[in-house]
Symmetry: C2
DNA sequence: CTGAAAGCGCTTACAG
DNA sequence: CTGAAAGCGCTTACAG
């Protein structure tokens, strides 16, 4: 069917090894030979067979991206991470194997030990991530987008959610707020071990305590009508709250409509502050001040690091756990009180 | 590093071919030999090398999924199609190579002619889709999710958008509506050749004309503040409109908030009817009657067909263009007028 | 029921 | 500057 390197060699009148070297540039080829080979390649529409190349070089130029679509997760939020990973990989000459098999451990083991991928990107990382075990036995390096307690030995990239919480509480404290509601990720995220959930919440609680502020955390929901019910309940439980902090994608996306419906004016009646990315704000028309989550930067940095570890492990050095610095984007949805 | 079939053979005390046959089940193996092999496999943690297997069998058990993230597209909507494709593929033993390279033609050519994939799933299909040309030369079968004029020879699966439009217009006509606004996909979708855009619009216009109804189409936007501005303009241009039909994901997602803000009650002041999936409705809490777009069914059917064409081409028969039947899901957002 | 061997299409020392 | 050959790790006729 498809042309092989042998066909190219025959048409160009050279040996197969010469064609191979012309392709890789790993040794000098005379100008004339090179053009003959080039012509043969074009004439035959030759592309090297990926399997054969992988077998010979032990490299696939494919990265594995492992993620799950959880029921309690807000799908649009996850997509923000997939895109930069995909783009960055391609920019460096890597394709992406997207693995969504619910049997995580097996999927990781299968794809790594069959040498389908040169490296692994983990999304939806949990505090005790079951995928790390099979990964330790793997020959391929891995990078986590998120943070795992058992992540030792792997590069990790995540937002500094503790710092994000402190930034927000400080901001509200400076404006004079004393009574705050916090909507956290759904309870299932905690159960599953999504550490960003409690890293943010615990830091917020601690910081608020330092200021002597009242801060009431409530588990948010990811689906209607739960989202609205939970908001109602949370606000009813804190009738004097002057601000709401939302660390929950589905809830913040539904908030503009909720506030309208309840006749709550922002920031006049209630200051609002969230945790989401610029892109997310765009897509959902969110007019709220927020800590930027920077999925683009995170994805890009993670993939770059992974590729460095694949191609130049000695340069990559020791595993790094990098918490990127959050920044507050003021969209004017908070105001001074008292 | 990783154990090979030779290692397994040695440990089990059999030949490599016997191990291979034990793996594939393609010939009878004595019970005793089988268990020895099984033990050796487990002891060594053996998984067949994917590249070697691909080289020997000309099969990768990988499907290519080709999509673009367009600026003017509402990302969450696209994800609905990715998920069922991924899930269905895995259910049939296939992994998914996700290709988002902006250089479409080259990406298709490269991945098919290097034999990285056994089959191709095309998303974001346009009326004159440039990816079909390289696909004709490919040895792998392809399936389109969407419709292309130059799609002859390929299996295609899409919603019957013409019928969807007629269903909606009929529904509104039966309720006595005579003056309707239609928000279509963004202009760029038309420019790019997204046929679902005009298939829906043209059918709606034609059907409305038959009833002697006024139907005013407006290009919707995909980002704020354009969405709101365009809605304002569209409604202002049809001050007597009693219903709005929204065939635009970003607009329908923003509509609840818009209606609240403008104090428009639905369906009392305005009947609303959309084109979106059950899942989309859930995620965005959309209380609107709509034509179900069935991304799950579409993705699943498409992948099944593709796999049939890969594994049993003689059974697959002639290429099929399947427009799945739309159904109206009544959520009570339309009412009788006049 | 099992084995020895050829072959899939590349890359890369080894030789010249 | 170029070629002949071994080897990557599988599968599968061919033989027994």
């Amino acid at each position: 069917m498809a042309a092989t390197i042998g066909d190219v060699a025959r048409v160009a009148g050279v040996s197969r090894s010469t064609v191979s070297y012309a392709l890789s540039g790993k040794r000098a080829i005379s100008e004339e030979t090179r053009t003959r080979i080039q012509e043969a390649i074009e004439q035959l529409g030759f592309t090297p067979n990926a399997g054969a190349r992988a077998l010979a070089t032990s490299q696939t130029n494919v990265l594995g991206l492992y993620l799950q679509f959880e029921e309690d997760e807000f799908a649009p939020a996850m997509l923000q991470y997939v895109l930069p990973v995909s783009t960055t990989a391609r920019d460096h000459g890597y394709d992406l194997l997207m693995v969504t098999d619910p049997d995580l451990v097996n999927a990781v083991r299968r794809t790594t030990s069959s040498a389908m991928v040169d490296g692994v990107v983990l999304l939806d990382v949990t505090y005790d991530d079951v995928r790390l075990e099979p990964l330790r036995g793997a020959t391929q390096p891995a990078v986590l987008i998120g943070y795992a307690r058992n992540g030792e030995g792997f590069d990790s990239f995540d937002l500094d959610f503790g710092e994000a919480a402190r930034l927000i509480v400080d901001h509200l404290a400076a404006l004079g707020h004393r009574d705050i509601v916090l909507i956290t990720p759904p309870r299932q995220v905690y159960d599953r071990g999504g550490s960003y959930a409690w890293r943010f919440r615990d830091a917020a609680v601690e910081r608020a305590a330092r200021y002597g502020m009242r801060l009431a955390p409530h588990y948010g929901e990811s689906r209607q009508p739960g989202i609205v019910d939970e908001l109602d309940a949370a606000l009813a439980a804190s009738p004097d709250a002057t601000a709401i902090v939302v660390h929950n994608d589905a809830t913040i996306a539904a908030l503009p409509s909720y506030l309208d419906k309840r006749g709550i004016r922002c920031p006049d009646d209630l200051s609002v502050i969230g945790v989401f990315s610029q892109d997310f704000a765009q897509a959902f028309s969110l007019p709220f001040t927020a800590v930027e989550t920077s999925p683009d930067a995170l994805g890009q940095e993670a993939v770059r690091r992974l590729i460095l570890r694949i191609t130049a492990p000695e340069q990559a050095g020791a595993p790094v756990v990098r918490f990127i610095e959050p920044a507050l984007v003021d969209r004017g949805s908070t105001r001074a009180v008292g």
